[in-house]
Symmetry: C2
Subunit: 468 residues, 2 copies
């Protein structure tokens, strides 16, 4: 036990914490020395007078720091009048501070054609900035309604009516932080505190990100086959094999592009009613349709007051995924369930963001942006079709809409993907959209790139994909 | 089967959908008539020529609408040249549209003293608006790093260093949409796809909202007793009884207010290391401390590179819960796990909001706001102590910090809560902070109200609470 450590104690004041008072800094330094085991349990600390003299500070500051450390249990008053480091303290490991983790370098020369990215360079404009400016001037509230700001729910209802001919009362709209966040919320609402008992049907092939959400929550994922028209409704499991919930992309099957015909849609709703299945309609890009008008949403066939279809919407494809803005359109019987679940789990979308999205939707800017993007993507799509449709060993799927293209290949997919990567072009392998073995091919996006980059990418895809 | 329905068909054009083209409107009207069973499967539709004449529109518009309906499967070309409603269609129920749900009226005369609300009227100021204005001018990105914008993670790291003396690299900070969203993310990361196998320890009594998050995810919740100093570390379950994760409030136990002494903190870390338990330090209001400086965070005793403590932070108490802004400070071994989970589940906090919080933190505005609020809350706290501390049958818990007060009562809690409600004052019953039976008393907030309202509320509390 050292009895007079004052001269050697490496106390640093005023270096790092220029915004703290002297007693706070001093107490903090003592804690550091104790945790770094420079001071050990049982060590006598300097007297307040000696330490004040040594450091050139007032004695009152030292006394205040010691009082704080005594209150915290770092120090205790020992026999006589000396103060010691609490002998009950275990020695603690010193944290290794300020280590720098190198982050993976981004190669800017790479052409990223993986699907899912819209053209986001035209998002920020006058309407966007004005929407946020107005939103940030609204006085802060104490609380938010569980399902979101009424003004945003009204704007989503209007959006749905105009863009998708789906009529819902604002009370049926729930604000979400994007598609997957909305799906998580719905799954947890339907799970009644036991997501591992939930059985969730997904399309096979289908969107891998959505499939991973139920899996991550512990639900059982049941793949349901898809053909060129979309979900094979006649192959849906029945009776005790039926899932609790089925996620479908009826407007534009992801990734193959089929559009579910009306008779299958009706069969699907009948099946859902008979087996009490909740249908999640993932309406991810139906606004971006080029060849014909978008088919009406499945939700528009459903009875909103006693229906089975939840429409899952987002601005990820029409505007930008980084806005993290979406909604659930809920049939009446699910509203209270989703609302109480949201109340428990908390609303992750702040009020300013909710208000800004409402302003943006109400300004009409999204409709204009969508029109402009539809024209842009139609030109890109034409580039893709012209570059790839006549190639031997390549079969381009019909592209009625959306931001991505699917090409089946005779060449092994892994070779094509890795050869493209070696040339600086990133695309996704088609087989990853199946849970098990799937078709061989590539999926690539054409939304986020300009004409020249796409031309360059397509030339390389054509070079690599053609059977040699 | 009607053969010539053209004159009676109630087709409406130009009323609701003034932004759609005539063919789109017409197709939409046919769908409506089919789904409302005005037109039944097998019915012949009017010839394009006759309908165009009847409606006073071009024949091309009718042809375009019919083509769309044929493509969708609503109509089929029958024998000869007539077109009929697809006989394969099942009749669908008509949605009951535009029903209005009455929302519960809010009584503005009510004084809401339930805990958890800060004073939010001074949030919106120049720094706030400027933070959002700058954020909304940043060009939209295609993607966000899974754990959040680097600039916000740097700002959180700096915030932690200054406010809590916790030194973490920005790579260890994960952006969340608030405390509960952060806890959900962490739980799902640690659950490895099976949250129902997760065992989560919580303080008893404790914050009911946080306890409900693991329960909602299907995890087993294990209450751990608390005394006036906080968690009773010596009573923690060991061996196979130990939880996977323990949520604690060491700085300011919620709701009773105890501050965990340093020797208990060290025992807790030893226990966590021995039993491989992840400790979640819910640092919900440590910045709002009046009697002494906040104790160092438990996380500051932990080894950031190989530690067991996750610090869960939010601006809900220091700024406003409606911002939905928070973070997780992660020990090194958990970073990849949380990052891949976030990648799968999606980031619910949009980029503009992330950037705005970073701007606000970097401007220093939060530190100023916190200082002002600390002074405000100190005055309110004094009001509470003066009004209630001398009353017979009332025991006010020590209030070193925070925004709420706990008063144990001799009178039955249910009587007091309901009598206060009858007088227009809402408080929370103390027993609800226990999972089973707990102490009788009330918990009320003093942060979100002004001096006059609090005086009024306290007068009524004193009237009702005193034993008669």
């Amino acid at each position: 036990m050292r009895t007079s450590p004052e001269i050697t104690l490496p106390l640093r004041l005023g270096e790092q914490n220029e915004h703290s008072t002297i007693p706070v800094q001093l107490a903090s330094e003592f804690r550091r020395l104790i945790s770094e085991t420079v001071l050990s349990p049982g060590d006598v600390v300097p007297s307040s007078r000696a330490l004040a003299l040594h450091l050139g500070i007032s004695r009152g500051s030292v006394v205040a720091a010691y009082d704080q450390l005594l209150a915290e249990g770092y120090l205790v008053a020992a026999a006589g009048r000396s103060t010691v480091v609490n002998p009950q303290l275990r020695s603690v490991q010193a944290p290794s501070r300020e280590r720098i983790r190198a982050t993976a370098a981004v190669t800017s020369s790479e052409l990223d054609l993986r699907p899912g990215r819209p053209w986001s360079r035209d998002v920020v404009g006058a309407a966007w900035k004005s929407a946020w400016r107005q939103a940030s001037a609204v006085p802060a509230e104490d609380t938010v309604p569980a399902l979101g700001l009424l003004e945003l729910r009204e704007a989503w209802a209007e959006h749905l009516r105009r863009m998708r001919a789906v009529v819902r009362d604002p009370s049926q709209l729930a604000v979400t932080g994007g598609g997957r966040e909305g799906l998580s919320l719905l799954l947890l609402a339907l799970a009644h505190g036991n997501p591992s008992r939930l059985r969730v049907g997904v399309e096979e092939p289908g969107y891998p990100s959505l499939r991973r959400v139920p899996a991550r929550l512990g639900a059982t994922v049941i793949p349901v086959p898809v053909d060129e028209q979309g979900l094979r409704v006649s192959d849906l499991p029945t009776g005790s094999e039926a899932p609790d919930l089925l996620v479908v992309t009826p407007s534009h099957q992801y990734p193959l592009g089929g559009s579910l015909p009306i008779d299958r849609r009706q069969l699907l709703l009948e099946w859902a009613t008979r087996h009490r299945v909740v249908i999640v309609e993932d309406d991810y890009d139906s606004e971006l349709r080029y060849a014909s008008h978008p088919l009406p949403a499945l939700a528009s066939l459903d009875d909103p007051s006693d229906g089975r279809v939840v429409l899952l919407g987002t601005l990820a494809k029409t505007l930008t995924p980084t806005l993290a803005a979406g909604y659930l359109a809920l049939p009446e019987p699910l509203i209270d369930l989703v609302s109480s679940t949201r109340e428990e789990l908390g609303q992750p979308v702040g009020l300013v963001a909710q208000s800004a999205v409402a302003n943006y939707l109400n300004s009409g800017a999204l409709r204009l942006h969508t029109q402009r993007m539809r024209n842009r993507y139609r030109r890109r799509r034409r580039q893709v079709v012209q570059a790839l449709s006549e190639l031997p060993g390549v079969h381009v799927y019909p592209m009625d809409g959306g931001l991505h293209a699917v090409a089946e290949l005779t060449r092994p997919e892994a070779d094509v993907v890795s050869e493209l990567a070696a040339r600086g072009v990133r695309v996704s392998p088609l087989s990853q959209y199946w849970s098990h073995a799937g078709s061989s091919g590539i999926v690539f996006g054409f939304g986020g790139v300009d004409e020249a980059d796409l031309t360059h990418g397509l030339r390389l895809i054509a070079e690599v994909a053609v059977l040699r």
